[in-house]
């Protein structure tokens, strides 16, 4: 049923050699290009590096190291393999529903809003939040900073072009968020793709920012950082939690992904949960 060639028929020594190669590659990328993956969570990083090796059609991680040291185009492909999550618009519709109920009333009390979407990848979740804020009458008073470490991902997000075939799933998600309009109002369909409506992004600043190596750059009333820190090890998570805390106004809101919890971090006591299931937290200390 499965061709024998499809099964990785490697000897155990190869696994052990990879355990040596991966940290060397990561160190090389850091020293050559400044992108710091040294404190990334090892299991997913290793998978992503293996995928990068395969897509470069190279025999080993060491061979990838050789190429990525010398070839900037290879670095960009490496970043695409190693940093981009596959998400969707209105991922976890329940989160957006609860956000409307619990967070929007708090945000409406502020005359102006600074929002940071940290680790925005291809922008799907940024447009989702922009649509929600538009429907709640908050988009015009919001300045929305969407950041990612990968410049190519930011370019794609800025363009706001998505495959047409994804819209069916996104429409179902949108409807489950208690959306107030029709999802099709928010994009124009072209040949095989859609373009998100331009006014959704008029207050969005797309900027390169690396949570690992860059500092806090403003004070925000809402920080969205969903499913970004899952790629970090515990000590890097701690550092990034510090950065987010330092970037959040008093009473500001922090949103994490479904499987992420403040419980296991030293900043737990600085926040209270507005909704612990949807990971919406308010800074109290």
């Amino acid at each position: 049923m499965i061709p024998q060639s499809a099964i990785r028929n490697l000897k155990p020594e190869i696994d052990n050699i990879e355990a040596i190669e991966v940290p060397l590659l990561v160190e090389a990328v850091y020293r050559r290009w400044g992108y710091d993956f040294r404190d990334y969570a090892p299991a997913s990083l290793k998978r992503r590096i293996r995928r990068a090796v395969a897509s470069e059609e190279l025999p080993s991680v060491s061979a990838l190291q050789e190429r990525v040291l010398r070839d900037e185009a290879c670095l960009q492909r490496f970043l695409d393999q190693v940093t981009v999550s596959v998400t969707s618009m209105f991922r976890d519709p329940g989160f957006y529903r609860v956000f409307r109920q619990l967070a929007v009333p708090l945000l409406k009390k502020r005359r102006s809003l600074r929002i940071w979407h940290a680790g925005c990848a291809g922008g799907e979740e940024v447009y989702s939040m922009a649509i929600l804020l538009h429907e709640e009458g908050l988009l015009d008073r919001a300045r929305f900073y969407a950041t990612d470490l990968n410049p190519a991902a930011l370019d794609a997000a800025r363009e706001g072009i998505y495959p047409l075939e994804t819209m069916k799933e996104y429409t179902v998600n949108y409807q489950a968020t208690a959306g107030k309009g029709a999802f099709s109002e928010y994009y124009q369909a072209g040949h095989g793709h859609v373009v998100m409506r331009a006014d959704l992004s008029k207050n969005i600043v797309w900027a390169q920012h690396n949570l690992v190596t860059d500092a806090s750059f403003n004070e925000f009333h809402l920080i969205l950082c969903r499913n970004v820190m899952i790629y970090f090890n515990a000590s890097l998570q701690e550092r990034v939690h510090r950065l987010l805390y330092d970037s959040l106004a008093k009473d500001g809101l922090l949103v994490l992904g479904r499987q992420e919890s403040l419980q296991l971090t030293p900043h737990e006591s600085c926040y209270q949960a507005l909704d612990s299931r949807e990971r919406i937290y308010q800074r109290i200390g």
Binding site: I2, R8, A41, S44, N227, M229, I230, R258, L264
Partner: protein, 202 residues
């Protein structure tokens, strides 16, 4: 210390199979059990609930970086890949593998990397071939490979693919897998359990 890990992958028909397996498991089960069950997202809570009813073990979705404990059953939450590193769980939002997220291969391969021989991988009923490559990795790293008998499985494709990838894997009925798990408790330590378990020539 990380407990022995029993990792289970199932797809179509998995829910019923898992209920049979878990009915008999004691609350002092000495290993941790991690399950990837392909499913529609809205069914995920139902899975945790049914398993909770079926056995006496603590069942739930793990959190990122949560430490793995013996006597717990962890279910991969919907729409993430679940991985294991060292003594804790990790997640990723990488693309689907074998048309699935969570994917059995992703879990199994990470477990094989992290825990080597102190792993038992089990592939149950299901369509497709997710789990086959992962089971081969577990086997290659010295872990045990068990496969539900394709004759018994509601959907035999996944067990057949696993057996093709791991010809040395042991084919067992659900009842036999259940007995095998039960023996883990009787054994004084897990290592003893592995040696004494009547699983033929691993």
């Amino acid at each position: 210390m990380t407990p022995h890990l029993v990792v289970i992958g199932a797809s179509l028909g998995g829910l019923e199979a898992l209920r049979v397996l878990f009915r008999e498991l004691p609350s002092d089960f000495p290993a941790a059990i991690v399950i990837v069950q392909h499913r529609a997202m809205e069914e995920s809570g139902e899975l945790a609930m049914l398993l909770g009813e079926a056995g006496s073990l603590s069942v739930g979705f793990p959190l990122d970086k949560e430490r793995i404990l013996a006597g717990h059953v962890y279910i991969a939450p919907p729409n993430y890949h679940l991985l294991v590193e060292e003594d804790h769980f990790a997640f990723s939002l990488d693309a689907q593998e074998n048309h699935a997220r969570p994917s059995i291969d992703v879990l199994f391969e990470s477990v094989a990397d992290a825990c080597g021989p102190s792993v038992t991988g089990i592939v149950l009923t299901g369509t497709g071939q997710d789990g086959a490559r992962g089971l081969a990795t577990i086997h290659r790293r010295g872990g045990l490979a068990l496969v539900q008998s394709p004759r018994e499985a509601r959907a035999p494709q996944m067990p057949l693919a696993a057996l093709e990838a791991v010809p040395d894997a042991r084919q067992l009925t659900l009842e036999e897998i259940g007995q095998w798990l039960f023996q883990l408790r009787i054994a004084e330590s897990f290592e003893c359990g592995l040696r004494n378990a009547d699983c033929g020539s691993f």
